[in-house]
Assembly symmetry: C2
């Protein structure tokens, strides 16, 4: 039996209940650790679940930064240095990934407290997460202030990607499930996935068909 909630009901929810409820509604979400390093050299690692694809040429994506202290370290470092890393989360370290959401002071690195490993690559000032199978080096492009509630959108360009070679199919598709990437719902519920199928490009009036393995 479905229950209907109207805006007045939602606004009357207790604050944490509402946050948990509304955060669930967007469906399953991308899950990534964003690695940054301040100009003074302090590293920071923070979990994000709001990455979204913007375009492939140039390769662009965005994510939302909330106006609170945890995310501020990430935001400040990105604005200071113009650079950050995006690291997919695997099941073997999802608890460490979650722990990065705790409000550590800015001089304490989440790499140290979670024992995730900083990996440095030529041409990058910001650290990657060595335990991640899919690592993206990104360059800050634009900051958009969302007037309605003071959140900030960061738009970034992909500079480099590191992926297990056997996870890349012949048409360019990256098999995230094979790479061990997991997903999240709400802000704290972690899920592995099980593939149903890939479907072929849809054409009007032609029945949907499965893509064979590539």
């Amino acid at each position: 039996m479905n229950k209907e909630f109207h805006l007045t009901d939602i606004l009357a929810f207790e604050q944490r209940f509402r946050a948990t409820f509304i955060n669930s509604l967007g469906g399953f979400k991308s899950l990534a650790l964003i690695g940054t390093r301040s100009r003074e050299g302090n590293t920071n690692l923070a979990i994000f679940n709001s990455l979204f694809h913007i375009g492939a040429n140039p390769p662009l994506f965005g994510f939302i930064v909330r106006p609170d202290s945890v995310d501020r370290h990430t935001l400040n470092n990105i604005l200071e240095t113009g650079e950050f890393t995006v690291n997919h989360v695997r099941e073997v370290f999802y608890e460490k990934a979650h722990q990065t959401s705790a409000r550590y002071p800015s001089d304490i690195s989440e790499f140290a407290t979670t024992q995730l490993t900083e990996e440095y690559k030529a041409g990058y000032y910001a650290p990657f997460v060595k335990e991640s199978h899919i690592q993206i080096g990104a360059h800050f492009t634009q900051k958009i202030d969302i007037q309605e509630n003071g959140t900030i959108m960061i738009i970034a360009k992909i500079k480099s990607v590191s992926i297990p070679e056997d996870c890349i199919q012949t048409d360019g598709f990256v098999d995230l499930e094979k790479a061990g990437t997991i997903t999240v719902s709400g802000i704290d519920s972690y899920h592995r996935t099980e593939k149903i199928a890939r479907l072929a490009y849809a054409k009007p009036f032609i029945k949907t068909s499965e893509l064979n393995s590539l």
Copy 2:
């Protein structure tokens, strides 16, 4: 063995290969059908995988519209009427959901071609998808043009939510897995999920713990 791709490699990819590759990198994504209705009364249904949470108070989310003809019907209807519906996709109708991405002319409704059922609710001009267990009524708030590549971001406010009552936990968390919501990677790979755990709110220097069932 990981393979590294740099921006120059990515820009040199064949166009479709690049689109498929870059679309995969954001991780697993939300999957929803957006229902709209033009001022003349034509309904439209389109699949989107770029929904992201912006805030809970007021309840806001966003999604990306690509500057091509399929998405244009959705965009035009939203801008004309200020209103749309978001409907979660379940495994039993994911092929129909995918089929809505075909480029039908604007006077042909994807509801008719896919045989998904229009559901009308008091106070809403736009149709919901009757087969969806989680339905959100949304009101257009803001349009942001992304200069870098001509895509458009729509920001919207949640006006109402319909959810199976037994999928709402006592702390407000909505159990999407129980509601049958599935996820997508890339633009065409559909996945069901299997819960690993919900984790408690993270605090500095305290070991991450599981949340008990609520």
